[in-house]
């Protein structure tokens, strides 16, 4: 991207300000300009900004200064261009833009082998029928290196095998469940961790479906509640997500034996725990695979795993996936490696890790070799 002149830079500042839903007055106040007219002059290119001022403007808007000079991922550019001029970013839009930028940045510095973005699979056809959704789930399992029966206890890490880098944070109950943006290589997914763990995992599985079908920019508002009549593709990707987490053959085998031994509630507790799904997802999956009638599915849907279920079934309750703000392990490792090799500052490392680690968690600065400082002494 060629360096912009004052007018082009002004346009980029205005666009970033509008996306952040800030008025000229608010921006002027945050930066410490004398009034909104200064911002107006900057945005029209009449007044030039210094690097110091531009750094302050970026901080006030809540973006990195690099945004003014380097294009984001093409999927974000086309998404922004497709919207009404003057549209503001939703919280999830802003998150996706930030995470896409950060992931590409980390990937660019670590030589491209840490995150595995290049392991992106061949584009799959979007499902048009229930059968195709089930088939896509089977294909996905093969791409992820899973057999047709095994549970997926660490979904975030597993989707990373095909270059989908998944983050989570709690952005509130009234916002989207999840979103995905394709990068130049691989993709980033963001999951709203406000929902329960089963719904979060279902949302990420749904995003994997979008990614496999190479949907370049998606925000999902109501995963598992899409209606076939109003949102056929989304409803089929919900089906894909359920089939990915609970393959029909595996469910049939597990359900039959547990139902006979324990009855529907304990059987549901065991299967939901083993496959890390919520009861609503399990009930729906039992119905759509023909393994349970309406009444039994109702019992499953309303059951909540109890302490006695856990004790009786001898279940081990693991840490929940995507609880609060999380970053995937591959990304965490890549950032820590960049810090260890002193390619980024400690402050920036903490920033890249989204506050999931504190300064005490970072490795201590390494002891230097003599030559590193004495080579300057002649």
């Amino acid at each position: 991207m060629a360096h912009p002149d004052a007018a082009a830079l002004g346009v980029r500042i205005r666009e970033a300000r509008v996306r952040a839903d800030l008025s000229q007055e608010e921006l002027a106040s945050r930066v410490g300009f004398s009034g909104h007219s200064v911002v107006a002059k900057i945005e029209t290119g009449v007044r030039k900004v210094s690097a110091l001022e531009l750094s302050d403007i970026a901080a006030a808007i809540g973006i990195h200064m690099i945004e003014f000079f380097e294009e984001p991922a093409p999927a974000i550019v086309s998404h922004r261009e497709s919207r009404t001029p003057g549209a503001t970013d939703s919280t999830v839009d802003a998150r996706l833009a930030l995470l896409a930028r950060e992931v590409e940045f980390v990937d660019s510095l670590d030589g491209g082998d840490g995150l595995g973005l290049e392991r992106g699979p061949q584009e799959q056809s979007a499902p048009t029928t229930v059968k195709e959704a089930e088939s896509l789930a089977a294909t996905a399992r093969a791409l992820l290196g899973l057999d047709s029966l095994e549970p997926i206890p660490h979904l975030v890490e597993v989707v990373g095998r095909v270059g989908l880098i998944a983050f989570s944070a709690d952005v509130g109950k009234d916002l989207a469940d999840a979103g995905t943006v394709l990068l130049r290589s691989g993709a980033v997914a963001f999951v709203n961790s406000h929902s329960n763990v089963g719904r979060r995992r279902l949302a990420l599985a749904h995003e994997l479906g979008h990614y496999l079908c190479a949907d370049d920019y998606v925000i999902d508002w109501r995963v598992d509640l899409y209606e076939p009549k109003t949102a056929p593709i989304e409803a089929l990707l919900d089906r894909f997500a359920r089939a990915l987490l609970l393959p029909a053959d595996a469910l049939e085998e597990a359900w039959a034996s547990r139902l006979e031994e324990h009855g529907p509630r304990r059987a549901a507790a065991w299967v939901a725990h083993h496959y890390r799904v919520d009861m609503a997802t399990l009930a729906r999956r039992l119905r759509e695979t023909g393994l349970a009638d309406h009444q039994t599915a109702g019992i499953v849907r309303s059951h909540r795993t109890t302490r006695s279920d856990i004790v009786e079934l001898d279940l081990y309750v693991p840490a929940e996936e995507m609880a609060g703000t999380t970053v995937p392990r591959s990304y965490e490792k890549a950032v820590l490696l960049l810090l260890e090799h002193e390619r980024i500052s400690r402050e920036r490392a903490l920033d890249l890790l989204q506050g999931t680690l504190g300064d005490d968690d970072l490795p201590a600065p390494r002891t230097r070799r003599d030559g590193e400082i004495w080579k300057y002494v002649y």
Partner: protein, 185 residues
């Protein structure tokens, strides 16, 4: 005044060391005809520090220390690129200004922090640090080894993470012939 490749550009840390040690005059002597610059972001960092430590203010009043401000887009793009590697919550902006001046104007940079210094080396930019300048000051008979060694030892331990204890600077410069013996007394 636009700095050229003969200019010395200082990060906040090295200037702070010279000021708090009372050696600003020594720095002026060593610079000689060389122009000494700080980017405006370093000036701001020094101003903030001067609020807590008035001694820092003396460097802001020194007319031979020039402040560089630029709205040149190549400079700003370079600054932004370094900020993406170093800056969070407004910290480390000074280094970005120094690196951007080194990258776009070819100035020699004075940086003590190893990460920005490593970035400078990675990109083939001209960079030095405080301890080498202190050696120059001893050679120029502006400072003596006893005057310098405590500060140098502190820098070696805390800024450079070199595994030297007290007296490490003296021992190392003598063992490696970095200063002649007569320069150390």
């Amino acid at each position: 005044m636009i700095p050229g490749d003969d200019a010395w550009v200082f990060d906040t840390g090295p200037l702070r060391t010279f000021v708090l040690s009372g050696w600003l005059g020594v720095l002026k002597f060593l610079a000689g005809e060389r122009p000494v610059f700080i980017p405006d972001v370093v000036q701001r960092e020094l101003r903030r520090q001067a609020a807590d430590d008035h001694a820092i203010g003396s460097v802001l009043d020194a007319e031979w220390v020039h402040v560089f401000t630029s709205s040149d887009t190549a400079y700003m793009a370079s600054f932004a690129r370094y900020a993406h590697r170093l800056v969070a919550d407004g910290q480390n902006e000074g280094e970005c200004g120094v690196l951007a001046m080194g990258a776009t104007l070819g100035c020699e940079m004075v940086i003590d922090d190893s990460t920005p210094r490593g970035i400078a080396e990675e990109e083939g930019l001209r960079v030095t640090a405080t301890v080498p300048i202190l050696c120059d000051a001893i050679r120029a008979k502006q400072l003596t080894l006893p005057m310098v060694e405590h500060v140098a030892d502190e820098l070696l331990a805390n800024e450079y993470y070199l595994p030297f204890g007290p007296g490490g600077f003296r021992r190392h410069v003598l063992e490696h012939g970095l200063l002649e013996y007569e320069e150390t007394i």
